[in-house]
Subunit: 339 residues, 4 copies
C-alpha cells in the first residue's frame, strides 16, 4: 500500500524520539513545571520574535477547542469556514469546550474566507441579547483545501475582526507547511498580521502526540490553564510533551519536514496539473481525476481519499515528511499512465 491519505498516518521523526529519550532520566517535577516545559516560552518566543505564552496539549482538536473556549464566551460565536476542521471534523469539540458557543459559517473557494464574505456574514449579527455575538474569527493555515492566506489577507480579515471587537485564532495544523511555502517569517504570518492565538501543529509534521497553543498576547491567556487542566490536557509527565515541541523548533525539524512533504507533493501536482481542482501550494494536492481514474489508482495500491460530495470525481493526495520517494515516483508514473 502506498499512503497518500493524510500526513497523520506518518511515523514520528527520529529527532522527536531522541528528544524524548534525552529527557528520560531521573525525576522531574510534574505538570509543566519541569525544566523543559519552562523553556517553551523562551524557545517559541525566539521563533516568533516576541514574547509569547506556549502550552502543550495532546491533539489538534484540544488545541483548537481550548484556544476558542478561552476567547469565546458561551453566548458568543466563532466565525469560520464551512469546511473548517473545527466545524467538520471535531465532533463538536469547540461547542463542548466553550460551553455551547456557536460556529457561524462562511463559504468560499479553497476553504478560504474572503474578507468581503467575512464582512457580509458579520452583518447578520445584531448587538442585542437575542442572538449570539461574534467574538472570534478562526482561519486555517493551510486550509482544508491546501490554500494559503498571505500576511496581507490575514491582516485584512483581522482588521475587520478587530473593528467588531473580535479575536483571531489560527488553526495551524499544517502551519509549517504553510510557512515554508511562503517567503515570510513566522511573525509575518501570525501576530504581525493580527493573529491572537495559534494552534501550532506538530503531530502531522513529524511529531508524536504534542501540539502547541501559542498566545501572542499574554493577557489573552486568561483562564486557559484552568480550562486545560479541567479538560484532562495537563500532563503529569509534562516533559515528554514539551521536549517534542522544543525539538521541533530547535532542531529545525519543522522546516526540514515541511519542505520535504511540500516538495514531494509538488511533484504530484506538477505531474497531474491538468486535473488540479485547487491551486497547489503545500503538501496537499486536490485533483478532479474522475471516477474511472480514481478507481484505477486505487486498484494499483494507492491509498488516498475521494473528496467533496459523492460522485464528484475529486480526490486528495497528501505527502508526509516520511512519504517514500518511490511512492511518489510510482504515483507520478501511474498518473501519467492514466492520462
Amino acid at each position: 500500500m502506498r499512503y497518500f491519505k493524510s500526513d497523520n498516518t506518518a511515523a514520528v521523526s527520529p529527532e522527536i524520539l531522541e528528544a524524548i529519550a534525552g529527557a528520560n532520566s531521573g525525576a522531574a517535577v510534574p505538570y509543566g513545571t519541569d525544566q523543559w516545559s519552562e523553556r517553551l516560552n523562551h524557545v517559541f518566543g525566539e521563533f516568533f520574535g516576541r514574547e509569547v505564552r506556549v502550552f502543550a496539549v495532546s491533539s489538534g482538536t484540544a488545541a483548537n477547542s481550548l484556544a476558542l473556549a478561552t476567547l469565546c464566551p458561551p453566548w458568543g460565536t466563532v466565525l469560520t469556514h464551512a469546511e473548517a476542521h473545527i466545524e467538520r471534523d471535531e465532533c463538536g469539540a469547540p461547542e463542548f469546550f466553550t460551553g455551547g458557543a456557536k460556529l457561524s459559517l462562511v463559504s468560499g473557494a479553497g476553504a478560504r474566507i474572503a474578507a468581503a464574505d467575512f464582512a457580509a456574514r458579520l452583518d447578520w449579527f445584531e448587538p442585542h441579547v437575542h442572538g449570539v455575538q461574534p467574538r472570534v474569527l478562526s482561519i486555517t493555515q493551510a486550509t482544508e483545501r491546501g490554500a494559503l492566506y498571505t500576511p496581507a489577507e490575514i491582516a485584512a480579515l483581522a482588521k475587520i475582526a478587530r473593528d467588531r471587537g473580535m479575536r483571531v485564532h489560527m488553526d495551524g495544523a499544517r502551519f509549517a507547511n504553510a510557512l515554508v511555502a511562503q517567503d515570510v517569517s513566522p511573525a509575518d504570518l501570525t501576530w504581525k498580521s493580527g493573529v491572537d492565538v495559534l494552534s501550532f501543529g506538530v503531530i502531522k509534521n513529524g511529531g508524536m502526540n504534542a501540539e502547541a497553543v501559542v498566545f501572542f498576547d499574554p493577557a489573552l491567556v486568561a483562564d486557559f490553564e484552568f480550562r486545560r487542566k479541567r479538560a484532562g490536557q495537563l500532563f503529569c509527565k509534562g516533559r515528554y510533551a514539551s521536549v517534542q515541541l522544543l525539538a521541533y523548533l530547535e532542531t529545525g525539524l519543522w522546516r526540514r519536514n515541511a519542505q520535504r512533504s511540500n516538495k514531494l507533493a509538488a511533484r504530484i501536482a506538477d505531474t497531474g496539473r491538468q486535473w488540479l481542482s485547487e491551486p497547489f501550494a503545500t503538501n496537499q494536492v486536490f485533483m478532479k481525476l474522475g471516477q474511472e481514474r480514481i478507481e484505477a489508482l486505487a486498484r494499483q495500491g494507492f491509498a488516498f481519499y475521494p473528496w467533496g460530495p459523492a460522485g464528484s470525481g475529486e480526490c486528495r493526495f497528501v505527502c508526509s515528511w516520511d512519504t517514500p520517494d518511490e511512492d511518489v515516483d510510482a504515483l507520478c508514473a501511474a498518473l501519467k499512465a492514466v492520462s
Copy 2:
C-alpha cells in the same frame, strides 16, 4: 534532591520507549484503527479474563472524566470520597465532561468509603426531580491515602450501588500497586466484584502519556467514543498511545514496576512504623512525623509533600518504579536519625 513527592515525577520505563520505537516505521492508519490499537481489546481481555472494551486517553483526569460522563447524566450525581482525586485534584473535570453532574461526597478513614457510610449518604437522595439522582459510585484503588479495597469490600459497595440502579467506576491510577499488594486476580479486583468501568493507570507506574479506560460491559460503552473525540482525546497517531498500553501488560511491566515501588515503600514504612498515620499497603507511606522532623528531612534534601491540613505534622512519601535504592537507604537512615 531525593524525590518522594509522587510517582508522577518518575521517568518512563525503557520497555515503553522500546515499544514506541518498535511501532515507529512506515504509515499507520490513524485514529485508533491501526494494528496496535486493534489488539487492545484482546490483550486487556486476556488480562481481565473476559471480553472488554479498552480505550486509550492521555491522562488520568481524562480517563476518569470520560468514564463518568458516559455513565452519569447531567442531572445525576457521582458518589465518591471527599478526598478523591476526582473531587480534589481535577479542577472540576468530571463536572465539565458530564455537562454539570454533581459529585456527592462520603467521608471515611483512609480515604476509603465504608459500605455503611455509602448507604447512609444515599438516604439523602429522593427519587424526584428536585434533587440530582445517584447514578455512579466512584472508588479509588489504591486510595489517596494508600488504602486498599478488598474484593469483598468492593462487592459490598457494588451491591448497594446496583440496588439503586447505579454503576461502579474505579479510579485505578495506582491499580497495579493495589493489585500486587493483594493476592487476587485482576478480575477479582474489578468486574467479579462489580466494577463496571476502570480507569487503568499506566503513567504513574512507568508509562509516558497513555492511560486505559476499560469497560467490562460492552453495552456501557454507549457514546464513549463520540465523547472521547469531542474531548480531543482521540489521537491521530494512535499507535503511540496503544503500544504503551500493550507493552505495559505484555512485558509484565505493570507487575515489575509496582512490585518494586511497593517494596521500596515498605522499607520506609517499616523504618518509620512508629509514625505511620495510615496502615501501609502500597507505594505510599503516610507518617505523622511532626513539624520539626519534617523540616529536618527537607533540609537534608528529601523532597516530599506535607499532608492534611496545615500544621498537622503529617507527610507523605511515595516511591516510584525508578526511585533509586540509595535514596531509600538515605531516607531510612535519616528517619532513624530523627527518631
Copy 3:
C-alpha cells in the same frame, strides 16, 4: 403608534386572565402536581386525538431548547433552517441546553426546508466519530417568513429523518395560526405526519407566560422532567401556568385568536398584494415596499420591522389577536396612498 411589529407585543386575552383568577383560591400542591396540571395530558390528548405528555414552560425558547436537549445528545446535531428562531433569535439556547450540540443549517425559500435540500444536507454527515451526528430535524410551523408546511410536506421530511434514525421537532410558536390557515386537524399537522415533539406556542396568540411542550410518544419524554427542573422551568405555583394552557384549548381561544389575527393580516396582504415578497398564509405579511414607502409609513406612526439584509426594502407586518381593526384600516389606507 399602531403596532405591527410582532404578535409578542399583544396583551393577554381575557380568557387567560379569568382562568388564572379562577384558580386563585386556597392552597394547591406545588410543582405541577396540582389538579390543573394533572389535567393537561388529558385535555391536550383530546385535542390531538391520542395520548400525549404535556409540560408547561415559561417561554418559547425554553420549550424549544428543552425539547431539543431531550432528543439530541451533546455530540449530535439538529438540522434546521438558516433563518429558524432557534438559530437566529435564541442566543444559543439550544447549544446551552443540549450541552453543546450543533445546529446544522439548511437554506430554502420562505424559511422552509424542502425535502431535497434536507436530504442533500444530510449527505455531509458520515457515521463516524469525527463529525457530529444528525439526530433531530426541527421545522417551524408557520415559518419565520410566514410559510406553511402541509401534512404531506411534513411527512416527506419526517420520512427522511426517520430513515436516518432522527427525530422530528416542530417549533410551533405560531402553531394555531398555521392550523387555522389549513383545513386539517391538529393530529394531521403533527404526529400523523411524523412530528415527535411540538413546542406549542400560546403566548404570541393571547397567552401570558406559558407555552406547552407536547410529546406524542411518551417514551421520548425520557429525562425531560429532570432537565426542566434543572433549567429553572418547573414552577412551584404551577397551576398558574397550567390554567393558561387549559384555557387556551378548552375555551377555543386558540382558534378565535388565530382566526382573527390571520384575517386582519389577510386584509393587509390583499391590499398590498403587488408588493408581497412571500406568499401570504397566516398572520405575518412580508412586503418589498422599498425604502421610501417604508419610511413614509414609519413617519405616519406605523411600527413594524424592516426585514432581510439592510437596504433590502423589505418589511414585515404582524397582526395579533388584539390588533385594533382601525389600525388595520389605517394601514390599508396608507398602503393604498403610497402605491
Copy 4:
C-alpha cells in the same frame, strides 16, 4: 386539609393580580423594554437605597443559577451550606447554568454558615490549577431551617469572602420574611453588609411567577442578560413579570404578607415551644414532635413535612400569607392536645 407544607402552595395575592390586569391593555414593546420593566431599576433602587440593576426571571431556581453563573466561572466553586436549596433542591441547576462549576459545602447548625466554618473550609483550596477556585459564597436568608443572618454576621462572612477575591450571593427566597423579622433596613441586610447579588423572592410571599435578581454593583451584571436570554428566561411579554415585582414593593405587599405569615407561625412556635428543634424566627417552625404526635396530627388533616433523616421525629410547619387563621387555631389546639 389544612396546609402547612410550604409557602409555595399559597395562592397569589390580589394586589399581584390587579397589577397584571392593570397592565393588560394594548401593545407593549417586548422583552423587557416596556414601560413597566424600565421602572424596575428605579423602584428597587429606592427600596435598597442605592442604584441597582434588577432582572425578572420565572423561578427561584433560575434566579439563583443565573446569578451564580454570572459570578462564577466553570472552574470555580460556590461555597454554600450543605442544606442549601441550591445544593439540595434544584437538581443541579447551578452546575448546569455555570457550565459545570462546583458547590463546596459547609456544615453548621440551623442551615447557617458560621464565619469560622467558612474560613476553615476555604483552607482546603489552593491557588493552583489542580483544584477549583472559590469564587462565590452563597448564603440563604432566611435559611432552610428558618434561621436568620444578622447584618453583622453577613458582614463577617463577606469580609472573609472579599479577602479571597470572592463575591457574595444571597438566596432570598424568603427575604421579606427575614427582613420583617429583624429591625433593619433592606440595605443593611444586603449591600451594606457585603452582599453583591440577591435572589429576591416574591413567589413564596404572594407572587405568581416572577422573582427578581438584584445586582448591587452594576459592573457585576457582566453578561447576565445574554445568559438570561439563552436560558429561556427573557420573556417576550415581559410586562407581566415586571408588574408583579413592582406591585410587590410599591403596594407594601412584601411587608404585609411577610408580617402575617411570620405572625401566624409565631403562634404555632409559641404553642409548641417545648418541641422547637430550631430557634424560631420567621414563617417556618421546626419541631421534634416525635413520630407518634406527627402521625396523630396527620390523621387530623394537617399537611406538613417530616424533616431531617427518616425516623428523626422532626417536622416543619410553614405559614403562608394566606394561611387561614382557623387553620392556625386548629393546629395550635391540636398541638396542645397532643402535649
